[in-house]
């Protein structure tokens, strides 16, 4: 570590203004601040800083994502060998290793493309490299079906970073969650490759599936009215689905990490779940088909609901900022997600669209909360005067 620090310290003068390698200064800065907490103090304004800067915060989110990611890898192997009908013979490490080898290229593509564009923009514009992609880069693979071609993930990542983030001015300025932009881009651009029954299971080279095995996700089956879900499997994550979204258990561990460290907002998570439960019960009461009759709590453990509620809706940049606004924002995400799922069969997964829609409305919610607050306080002033 010491040697690395020395290297950064030694090279620093070479990237100062006017020095030979000044054009590399944002790259140098990015790696230096990523590796070490800086000694620099403020030159003006606030002098007291939290030790946990944006990079450390992002690191914590990545840590919270790890359980879901590991479970996702295991599940990919589980689904693959399940499709082959070899679950009895394949051991734990066979399953996990298979999943790891499938997921790793996706993560590498996502990071290389995304960070490449981030560094390029930082160099061109002469500002610091934005940290935001540390999390987006791992979120993007986790919301993708495992069989998505790698070049599509590259294209979607590039689209998300450029049009979801950079055009608005980089990290902290974006209106929508970049990872969901990537997912939505693929969903609308390559619908044939992003839906159906074959994309969820890594089954390339499998000639004949085991008897009775379909690759359909519980969501797709529910749309068809087959709602005999194995709830325990769905909860621990052994169902077909996107890489990181299947295991509600692992996501709950991540949620605990986020809430304990104070990084994720529990109000948004809770209100999203409440919204989903509310809409689920409402649909149960007025049920006219099998999907509407599906018990409301099953909605919470299938598809991307839990993943979206914990990791996507709580994105501090695109969520509502006011405390009251967070309750409204989360609740409406839950309501809309279930509504889109059940009522519109063209979009089996409503979570992505619900969060993107509410991201759009978050500033509006905040605006009215703040205006309401101003009005109330003005009234108080007038009364006392």
């Amino acid at each position: 570590m010491k040697a690395l620090r020395n290297f950064f310290e030694k090279t620093k003068p070479h990237v100062q203004k006017g020095a030979k390698y000044h054009w590399l200064h944002s790259t140098h800065d990015a790696f230096f601040t990523l590796a070490f907490v800086q000694k620099d103090t403020s030159k003006s304004g606030t002098h007291v800083h939290d030790y946990i800067d944006l990079k450390r915060t992002m690191g914590m989110v990545v840590l919270a994502l790890v359980p879901a990611l590991l479970m996702g890898m295991y599940n990919i192997g589980y689904q693959h060998f399940g499709a082959l009908g070899q679950l009895d013979t394949a051991g734990f490490f066979d399953l996990f290793l298979f999943g790891l080898l499938k997921v790793l290229p996706v993560i590498i593509v996502s990071y290389v493309v995304g960070l490449g564009i981030e560094f390029l923009f930082a160099q061109l514009r002469g500002h610091e490299v934005n940290e935001g992609f540390l999390v987006s880069g791992i979120l993007i693979p986790m919301v993708m079906p495992i069989n998505t071609p790698l070049w599509m993930i590259g294209v979607a990542t590039a689209f998300a970073v450029i049009f979801g983030k950079e055009v608005f001015g980089g990290t902290g300025m974006n209106i929508w969650n970049p990872a969901l932009i990537a997912r939505a881009f693929l969903f609308f651009a390559y619908p044939a490759q992003m839906s159906g029954d074959s994309v969820w299971i890594s089954a390339s080279g499998i000639e004949s599936m085991a008897d009775g095995f379909t690759g359909a996700t519980p969501m797709a089956q529910a749309v068809l009215g087959e709602t005999n879900l194995d709830a325990w499997h769905a909860f621990i994550g052994l169902i077909p689905g996107s890489i990181g979204e299947t295991s509600t258990l692992a996501i709950l561990i991540g949620a605990a990490i986020l809430i304990i460290t104070g990084i994720g907002n529990w109000k948004i998570m809770l209100s999203t779940v409440l919204g989903g439960v509310f809409m689920g019960i409402l649909l149960n009461i007025f049920a006219v088909n099998a999907y509407m009759e599906m018990p409301f709590w099953e909605h919470l453990i299938i598809g991307g609901f839990a993943f979206g509620a914990v990791f996507m809706a709580t994105d501090p940049v695109s969520a509502a900022q006011t405390e009251k606004g967070k309750w409204i924002y989360g609740f409406l995400i839950g309501v809309l997600a279930i509504l889109i799922r059940v009522v519109n069969p063209a979009y089996p997964e409503g979570m992505m669209l619900a969060i993107l829609l509410m991201n759009t409305f978050a500033p509006l919610i905040d605006h009215y909360i703040i205006q309401g607050n101003i009005k109330r306080r003005l009234k108080r002033v007038q009364q006392s005067a």
């Binding site: 071609p149 070049w151 599509m152 294209v155 049009f163 055009v167 881009f185 609308f188 651009a189 390559y190 619908p191 044939a192 490759q193």
Partner: protein, 216 residues
């Protein structure tokens, strides 16, 4: 033309060239966006649409410019509309006669040239106050500025959305996933949102090259 100004004086040439860049109807004045999004899914309709708008705008400009001293000010809008509508119907009939398939593809958007803000805008802003020849050039220039954007957007959208240019497949069939390859057409390119994003990228490129256009 009493002062014997040459037909292609510097001032007149500017009328032609300015709309292509620094006062482009779509990317700078942000007019005519609706049709730019609607007809540009392929290159051929984009080109036909550009030519149609060019014909309508150039001749409407000339006719209104000729009439400009006789049109009562209070009813000038309705007179302009009559001129535009007559020209649009002519263009529509010509398209139906000679390029029926493209005319089918463009459907209502030929008729909707009447409501294209670029045309009303140029009539109001230029033809009502200038002589026929400069008005003609202004019409040509603005329609060309509109057309250039339409053609760029149409080219990009057809190439990535359908894998073809002018209806000819340019991406080898063996590349497609269905045939054992890896490639798939980008379905979003066919949808209007991507047209808007493409126009946005053009504006982005244009403004980063021509910094005078950036507002504070």
């Amino acid at each position: 033309m009493s002062d014997k100004e040459p037909l292609f004086s510097k001032k007149n040439l500017k009328l032609l060239s300015d709309p292509l860049n620094s006062s482009n109807p779509i990317t700078v004045q942000v007019l005519g966006i609706c049709s730019a999004l609607a007809v540009t899914a392929q290159l051929k309709p984009s080109v036909v649409m550009s030519l149609s708008v060019m014909a309508v705008l150039a001749f409407a400009n000339v006719i209104v410019s000729l009439l400009r001293n006789t049109i009562p000010n209070r009813i000038r809008i309705i007179v302009q509309l009559v001129v535009i509508a007559a020209l649009v119907i002519l263009v529509d009939q010509v398209l139906k006669a000679f390029v029926y398939d493209v005319s089918k593809q463009l459907s209502v958007f030929v008729g909707l040239i009447i409501t294209n803000c670029i045309i009303m805008g140029r009539l109001e802003a230029f033809a009502l106050g200038n002589k026929p020849w400069p008005s003609f050039l202004d019409g040509l220039g603005n329609a060309a500025g509109y057309g250039v954007i339409l053609i760029i957007v149409g080219f990009v959208r057809e190439l990535f959305g359908s894998g073809s240019i002018w209806g000819y497949k340019v991406i080898p069939a063996s590349w497609y996933i269905e045939n054992g390859g890896f490639y798939a057409n980008n379905g979003m390119m066919i949808l209007p949102p991507m047209a808007l994003i493409t126009v946005g990228v053009i504006i982005w490129v244009q403004r980063s090259r021509n910094r005078k256009l950036i507002e504070d």
